[in-house]
Symmetry: C2
């Protein structure tokens, strides 16, 4: 099944376009999660605590969300125990009915890009049998290396019914210098948008959306309408809502093709309320507020 | 100590600019490595076999090399056991006197880029103590997100005396469309080269080179002289020699600032000879040929 159709079904069923961003920091965990990791080497305790923290946040917010976006860097920094935590958190998210977005922004030459595909949405053959990858429902990918380097990531995802969100316009302040207007030419993000549209045009689902989407910052609402024109079939994954300053009510153009045409990713603005309250349940309300705001906008 | 000075000392001592590329594929391992992984779950067997394979290749080729370039994707696809193998292979490379280059081409918004810095060259605080990162001597980084997103990776590396190689021109055939001339403007790789020069100018070592280097494909020798002009202080990490078609004798301009101004990375052209012979020792000769060719060129 095409990823876009899976997403459209999930959005309709859950009435949500919210992707819970999980970027766990071992120094900012729920107290119960810290208490649960009561012995073992440092990295293993941290990995267990991170897993428990994410599990609780998933449980608390899942009714308001359609996806969990796992920030690979935050797991990787704990080494092998972190990678194990990543797999456990992905399983917890799936168990709660959420789609799993592996946010690693990978990109490399074709031969290596294929290995990233195996790691995140595929599987890896060995002389002793197959090693299953993370089993993500979608990945983020960096397009700087060009079309031939994206294709193995897109293909691996597609073969698994998963999607690929290609960076087009990121949410950091410094993005403009690289992704914006360049020399006398048009902005790089327009070129990237063209690449997204090209890569996705042969895999448009029944819902009219493609399995190749785009990361488009919620912090640059003035760009959304023109990017939507350049990528009429792409699902937009929109980070930067909340802590980074993006406002959900300015994102209407992203939803013009339909309610599953955009996902709104929020991390700190949801998770921080749980941390302040010292309990995961406090994350439910900000997640629900965001769900309601996005759902209204797309309806 | 500045990374460039550490590199310059190592190049002078070892009379080598060769970076052994390790991109392990569990279906193409040395027979002894396969035999050594005799029990356990699939991913753990594969992780142990990959470690042993890389260890043997390091041992066989280290006298001809100055660095080992570890392709993170190839370890990641084995999950947590793969990440453990990565740490073990890095330790083996260090033990053989090689600098370790973590080739992950990471890049993300500043907050997340800092986490990649912790993972690869830094450390991560937790309530139970500090988790040490991979301890790489250098990393590769993707500049698409712009300067503010590169800075945390460069800073983390710099604080550890490590270096950062920023992608400027990659070795895949499709790179030109994104990294080459754009609209009516100048090529993107020139803009990226300017960014490398900027980021590195405050960290030039006694050797005259900086701790911020550039990935410049060996497959595009006609670009090297102009890129060298734009980045006079950058160490060039040059993939694509051998299997991808790059010829070492065309890379002279890269070495114009001195013998440590470029590293020649080769993977398949060295490792395949060991695989064909069925023993790691057979990798020594192609590594030594490459060492000699690069050393002559820079002398």
């Amino acid at each position: 099944v095409n990823f876009a159709d899976r997403l459209a079904a999930a959005v309709a069923e859950r009435r949500s376009q919210v992707a819970l961003g999980l970027d766990p920091d071992a120094t900012r965990l729920l107290p119960d999660a810290v208490a649960s990791a009561d012995e073992g080497p440092v990295a293993e305790r941290a990995g267990r605590a991170v897993t428990e923290h994410c599990r609780r946040l998933i449980e608390a917010t899942a009714p308001a969300c359609v996806a969990a976006k796992l920030q690979l860097a935050c797991f990787e920094r704990l080494g092998a125990p972190g990678w194990r935590a990543l797999a456990e958190v992905a399983a917890a998210a799936r168990g709660a009915g959420l789609l799993v977005i592996a946010d690693g922004k990978r990109g490399d030459v074709p031969h290596t890009a294929a290995a990233y595909g195996q790691a995140l949405t595929g599987e890896t053959p060995t002389p002793w049998g197959t090693v299953q990858g993370l089993g993500a429902d979608a990945v983020t990918a960096n397009p700087l290396l060009g079309r031939d380097a994206l294709e193995p990531i897109v293909s691996a995802a597609r073969a698994a019914g998963a999607g690929t969100f290609v960076l087009v316009r990121t949410s950091n302040p410094g993005a403009t210098a690289l992704q914006g207007p360049h020399g006398d030419g048009r902005p790089l993000y327009e070129k990237l948008a063209g690449l997204v549209d090209e890569l996705g045009k042969d895999a448009v689902g029944r819902c009219g959306l493609s399995d190749v989407g785009a990361v488009v910052a919620a912090t640059q609402p003035e760009l959304i309408a023109s990017l939507r024109e350049l990528m009429p079939r792409a699902v937009f994954l929109m980070p930067g809502v909340g802590a980074q300053g993006g406002q959900v009510d300015l994102l209407g153009a992203a939803f013009s093709p339909g309610p599953a045409a955009a996902l709104v990713a929020a991390s700190r603005s949801i998770v921080d309320e749980a941390l302040e309250a010292g309990r995961a349940e406090a994350a439910r309300e900000p997640a629900e507020r965001l769900r309601e705001a996005a759902w209204q906008l797309s309806g």
